[in-house]
């Protein structure tokens, strides 16, 4: 039942303090005064508590169990991070600079730590999410080429066909033409293919490394040289940074612009889809184009620098999703430099262990040592049994697990992309393997059972075709 159906006219869930300010009377012109009140719920506090508590029970979450969504890095979100963020909730973004000393210092420290982690020279913490960071990074590239008088000829952004959908979408928003290049037979960037498209009309090459197949682009140093030889910039999509911490840095690999997802690698909770945070690190020559303000050390203190005449402007208001920054900072303090390396080591160990175990039953796309994630290719399995990736995903829900990312990357048909993260134990991984093996067996013996799943969830399979064909956007009486 929706909360609107719980509503009774006249019931209320709030109480405001006694009011002692004299009434000056309402002088709003009649035609600008609201005639019909908004249909908001009229419910008691208890109604509200039960409604949202019951809704929460219908959700799966990291705190409930294994959540192996590939490319999403659904690791455990430490509780202390939340407590630390609460210490900063009462600050107004426009309060005098001298009254937010600690907040600015925290942003300064965080920026320095993230620059060290990414191997970049300067950074903005303003972007609110990964895709927002991508847009910011591409606008910085645009500003750079405009500044050196090359924007007129550099219209293209190259993305591999294994890229996240946000990459081409961000490039489009930044006014670039998108060139998609086919991956090679090993799942990595095909250097010949890249060569064919790479010339002085290219502004940026966007790469995720490791890529969305969970494979490290081993030719990355060559790719960087090829990009720089024609004057193009190399952009790092940070969705998969959780694989390489402590061993290499995007900046060292030759990337000029690097985005991070603090809600992935740095443990801040995903909150049903956000808020995230997508800082952008850049090499020194690009620092002058960062959005304002940039937090900079000046003597012993940190300052907010608004004086960047060549800045791209602002990509949102204020300093970004500041509370998310506090959580990520808390996490880095907790893990430390060595701990972050251990994070990546264990994330990669977990992924390879799962890959090795599952390869006995399922076909792994590009079956070799992977990084933090890998992809199952169910095309043959589906042909043989009639059971598709979607069906396996739904059946996993019946086993009390969240499904992996499905039908992505697009270059693997019937793909199932699995990222266990470092916070999962061997027992958890074994339980997942056991469930996957059971489902494979069910698919052989009783495919209809799998195709009808899930059975134990709050609702069964939903009709999303008609939901889009005859959309119901809102509750109506």
């Amino acid at each position: 039942m929706t909360i609107f159906e719980l509503s009774k006219p006249g019931r209320k869930g709030y109480e405001l303090p006694t009011y002692d300010v004299p009434d000056s009377g309402c002088n709003i012109p009649e035609h600008l005064l609201r005639k019909k009140p908004p249909m908001l719920p009229e419910v008691s506090e208890v109604d509200v508590v039960r409604h949202y508590t019951n809704l929460a029970l219908k959700n799966y979450s990291v705190d409930r169990g294994f959540y192996p969504l590939g490319s999403c890095t659904m690791k455990y979100n430490p509780k202390i991070n939340e407590d630390m963020a609460i210490l900063f909730t009462q600050l107004h973004p426009f309060q005098p600079r001298e009254t937010i000393e600690g907040a600015v210092e925290l942003m300064g420290h965080l920026k320095e730590l993230l620059c060290e982690i990414t191997g970049t020279d300067d950074m903005t913490l303003q972007p609110a999410a990964g895709a927002h960071g991508e847009l910011t990074g591409l606008l910085i590239a645009r500003a750079y080429f405009e500044d050196i008088g090359e924007l007129g000829k550099r219209k293209k952004v190259i993305v591999p066909d294994s890229a996240h959908g946000t990459n081409p979408a961000s490039a489009g928003m930044a006014g670039f033409e998108v060139i998609e290049i086919k991956s090679g037979p090993d799942g990595c960037v095909d250097l010949e293919e890249l060569k064919k498209h790479l010339d002085e009309t290219v502004a940026v090459i966007m790469l995720t490394n490791p890529n969305t197949l969970g494979l490290f682009e081993k030719d990355i140093l060559t790719i960087a040289k090829m990009a720089h030889d024609v004057g193009a910039l190399l952009y790092y999509d940070g969705a998969n940074l959780n694989a390489i911490m402590g061993r290499t840095r995007p900046g060292d690999m030759g990337f000029d612009i690097v985005h991070l997802n603090l809600h992935k690698t740095f443990s801040t909770p995903h909150g049903m889809g956000g808020p995230g945070s997508g800082p952008i690190g850049v090499k020194a020559p690009l620092a002058q184009y960062l959005p304002v303000p940039v937090v900079r050390k000046s003597g012993e203190k940190y300052e907010l620098d608004y004086n960047l005449p060549k800045s791209i402007g602002m990509v949102r208001t204020f300093y970004g999703n500041f509370l998310v920054l506090v959580k990520a900072y808390t996490y880095i303090l907790t893990m430390g430099g060595k701990g972050l390396k251990h994070v990546s080591d264990m994330a990669v160990l977990n992924a390879n262990y799962l890959r090795a175990k599952l390869s006995k039953t399922f076909k792994i796309a590009y079956d070799r040592i992977c990084m933090h994630e890998f992809v199952i290719d169910n095309e043959e399995f589906a042909k043989k049994t009639g059971v598709k990736t979607l069906d396996i995903a739904k059946r996993l829900l019946d086993y009390g697990l969240h499904a992996p990312t499905i039908y992505f990357p697009l270059i693997v048909h019937e793909a199932m992309m699995i990222e266990p993260t470092e916070t999962e134990s061997k027992q958890t991984l074994d339980a997942f393997v056991e469930a996957m093996e059971k489902i494979a067996k069910e698919a052989q013996e009783n495919p209809q059972l799998v195709k009808g799943a899930p059975y134990t969830t709050p609702v069964r399979r939903l009709d999303d075709v008609n939901a889009t064909k005859y959309p119901v956007f809102r509750f109506k009486r």
Binding site: K58, I80, G102, H263, L323
Partner: protein
Amino acid sequence: MHRYIPHTEEEIKEMLQEIGVGSIDELFVDVPKTIDGYKIPDGKDEFTVRKIVETLAQKNKAFQPENVFLGAGIYYHYIPTVVKHLAANPNFLTAYTPYQAEVSQGTLQMLFEYQTMMCELTGMEVANSSMYDGASSFAESLLMATRITGKYKMLVAKTINPEYRTVARTYTSPIGIKIEEIGYTELGAVNLDELKAKLDDETAAVAVAYPNFFGVIEDLKTIRSFIRQNVIFIVVAEPVSLALLEAPGTFGADIVVGEGQSLGVTPNLGGPGIGFFTTLEKHVRKMPGRLIGQTKDLDGKTGYVMILQTREQHIRREKATSNICSNQAYIALINAIYLSIMGPQGLKEVAYRSYNNAHYLAKKLEEAGFPRIFTGEFFNEFVVRVSTDYRNRWHEMAKDGILGPIPIDRVYKELGPSALVCATEVNTKESMDRLVEVMRK
């Protein structure tokens, strides 16, 4: 071993054996080893971490809400205790985008209800499930106007929040959108003569704020009457005010956007807040962001799913209506809980008290020698004339625990020494009288 990472030495060995390698390092053969660890101190126990972050927090100054007279887009309101308790539920906090609808019905139904509430407040037909903030939501509304009309000229009122206009320029310039600003009159409202003069066949959209940055309530009815139907009418609205003011949808708005922080969200140094985005059904396929719709499951039971995803980046890629993926869903939850608690009556009381407090304060400030600069009717903010040394006073007041009206003469130079005063229901008569005394000094 670390408390967040469960592997024992023995398990690591077993797992390496299963994989068929001799060491962790062998898993990283493809990775060029460019560093040997980070130059970052070792990790710390939670008690030490707590101390470090608390020490930073103590270097900030938080103000008592009743002593805050600063708004400009971020507002202090009463937030009922249940809001934070319900939102803290880990099944909301630690879930992700509802990719598996059957185990995300809590998220999906909540967002469907949130969309309904935003439609109700704005008087629009469709709301998406959130954008990053008010500014990016506004910027995306301009991009959407170009998608609908195929035109690139935008008439944007100078009375829209200056940061929103800055962000809009960042977003729109790459694709060739030209923003022309429309000035304001002595009312503090959009200059209709200038608007009429600048409107032409090339105009994609007209955008105004309601109430605007000066707090003035723009006359949407009159503005819309000047704009041809095929020009997109964008309204940047403040959601609390909409409990008192007529909904922009009533006046023929095509897109209503804004910042939802005032609906139960703490100020958070400006983020996270939430951008809301609403429009009409006829424009929905040009709309950015995630949409939740109602449907049925196999057994005919009501359920909720993400709909119209072919607009979005993961399917449409470079042709998507936006690149947005992660949004501010968790803040939408806070908005929805807050609106459920307050209901239509509570929100109206909040809006009216904010309005009334601002008018009480305006009168008192005028008597104390701080006259209003504009004559237009306002909601809960207004601009007053201040002395040339006011900026120093503003910093002094902060030392006394008062977050005073913000000087705005750096962004609106033509106004001369001026400050934007804000009042909401959290300001008391006593705190407002005290502000007047302190400002008079």
